[in-house]
Amino acid sequence: MSFSGLHQMLAYPFMVHALAAGAIVAVMASITGWFMVLRRETFAGHTLSAMSFPGASAALLAGVPLAAGYFGFCALGALLIAAGSRTAGRRNPSQESAVIGAVQAAALALGFLFLSLYGGVLVDLESLLFGSFLGITADQVWTLAAITVGVLAFFAIAGRPLLYTSVDELAASARGVRVRVLQVAFLVVLGLAVAATAQITGVLLVFALLVAPAAGAQQLTARIPLSIALSVLFALAIVWIGLTLAYFGNYSVGFYVSTLAFALYVVCRGGRKLLPA
């Protein structure tokens, strides 16, 4: 690929939209994902991203707008996980993982039922799961931007107490932080963020951006602002390089983005050993 090739790529409106949408998704997913990784809620994040499948197929079947299905199922999933994952008021790891797994499987089974009732074709399913960056409109870019502002506002308000409960739940609750409310709120925001982006970029891509940049950044530094900034930077790099490779290469953007994300994590894990302790 040459410079003129890059120049030509930017002359296509769909690529400009894709790069803009990708950048917005990268910022939102990497910050949400940073908290998700810190709180060890990766499995919940993956399950919430899987919620968009029954959401989409339910909306198709009922004839309501897709967005209603996505948001409805993601919020429902977040509430179910939050409700089922506590025993005697405390997070219980083995019960939590069972609840999340069961919610995910039940949701996917429902999605399959809706899809077969609808008689739909699987081509839509593939683009839903694996994303197609082509055909993103300027309107969708603006919608994404608005949702991202909302998500960032949540973290601006609740970020500090959320950090406190994530690091030391007992101490935070002793100091009067509303641990339970924050847990539910975070899961709902995670669900909404995923729902908003999944309908435009595909489930796989969102999840790759949620987990890998944050995991890599947290390997490299323990300083919070630096770690968040690194994670945003990593996510931006992954999305833009991935989209460019997909433009010039032969395969789906999902493959490039997830491979880059994996490589980044491996490099960060290896790099930690080289850093002074």
């Binding site: 790891p93 797994g101 499987a105 399913l125 890998a212």
Partner: protein, 285 residues
């Protein structure tokens, strides 16, 4: 209904798969490894598509991929259990590879890639031939036998890894063997309920059993029983209601059992929670 061969095949393959998934699931939940099971089930998808792209038997890809990744996860975890962030990252990449194989496959001369993808993702227990069903049954029985063989030390190593190691139990080796068994079970169950849904057969019956009893062997049996009930009732329901896909019916029953397990302790008032399952021992390991 039992006059139909496809129903007999479904029951023949589905019953051992259910018993194995329920029993393995009991340990999966106890060890908080449901996310690893989830990742392995998606690996099954990638493995099947890789085999499809290479033009070989899907089952070769299924088993090779799940056993390989199970070993990889065990190796990454070392003495501790793999943390969920590592699983998440590995698993994103595996899904990405699945997309790659889907691209390669759909570009080849094969038609109907949507059907392969759909069968892999959602399974087709009614589509099993007699030979596939017998093979599935044999593998299911082998998994159950292997699990029963290691059940006692595995239980010890799960509940108190330090004490077990001090008593000479090979904790790391057991963790590795268990993940490989889980991989084999995932590959097997993919053919019945599909890569996306097999997690339900592992998590839901086991979650219900853990809710209802603290006694390990009773819980193990209960979990298998719930899984078998899910498969049988699901098959019957799907037979009676033609528009209901069998995978959805099986998962529907499993989820209902789990939901009921949440309600029953509330009704019967006394809490049957295990004393050690409410504490966070698995975080301290």
């Amino acid at each position: 209904m039992f006059a139909h061969e496809f129903i007999r095949n479904a029951l023949l393959a589905g019953t051992p798969i259910a018993v194995a998934s329920g029993a393995i699931g009991y340990f999966v939940v106890l060890r908080s490894q449901v996310f690893a099971a989830d990742a392995l089930s998606h690996v099954a998808f990638t493995g099947a598509l890789a085999a499809a792209a290479a033009g070989i038997d899907l089952r070769v890809g299924l088993f090779a991929a799940t056993i390989f990744v199970a070993a990889l996860l065990a190796a990454l975890g070392g003495r501790a259990r793999v943390d969920d962030v590592t699983i998440g990252v590995v698993f994103v990449w595996v899904l990405g590879l699945g997309v790659l194989f889907l691209d390669i496959f759909s570009r080849g001369s094969h038609g109907g890639n949507g059907i392969v993808a759909s069968r892999t993702l959602f399974g087709s227990i009614f589509g099993l031939g007699p030979r596939q069903a017998w093979l599935a049954a044999a593998i299911g029985v082998a998994v159950i036998a292997a699990l029963l063989l290691i059940a006692r030390p595995l239980l010890f190593a799960t509940v108190d890894p330090q004490m077990a190691a001090a008593r000479g139990v090979r904790v790391t080796l057991l963790g590795f063997l268990f993940l490989v068994l889980l991989g084999i079970d995932a590959a097997e169950a993919t053919q019945a309920v599909g890569a996306l849904l097999l997690l339900g057969l592992i998590a839901a019956p086991a979650g219900a059993a853990h809710k209802l009893t603290a006694r390990p062997y009773f819980g193990l049996a209960l979990s298998s029983l719930f899984a078998v009930a899910s498969v049988w009732l699901g098959i019957v329901a799907a037979y009676v209601i033609p528009s209901l896909p069998p995978s959805t019916a099986i998962l529907g029953v499993a989820s209902s059992i789990y939901a009921a397990a949440f309600v029953i302790p509330l009704v019967s008032r006394q809490s049957p929670q295990a004393p050690w399952s409410t504490t966070s021992w698995s975080e301290t390991s």
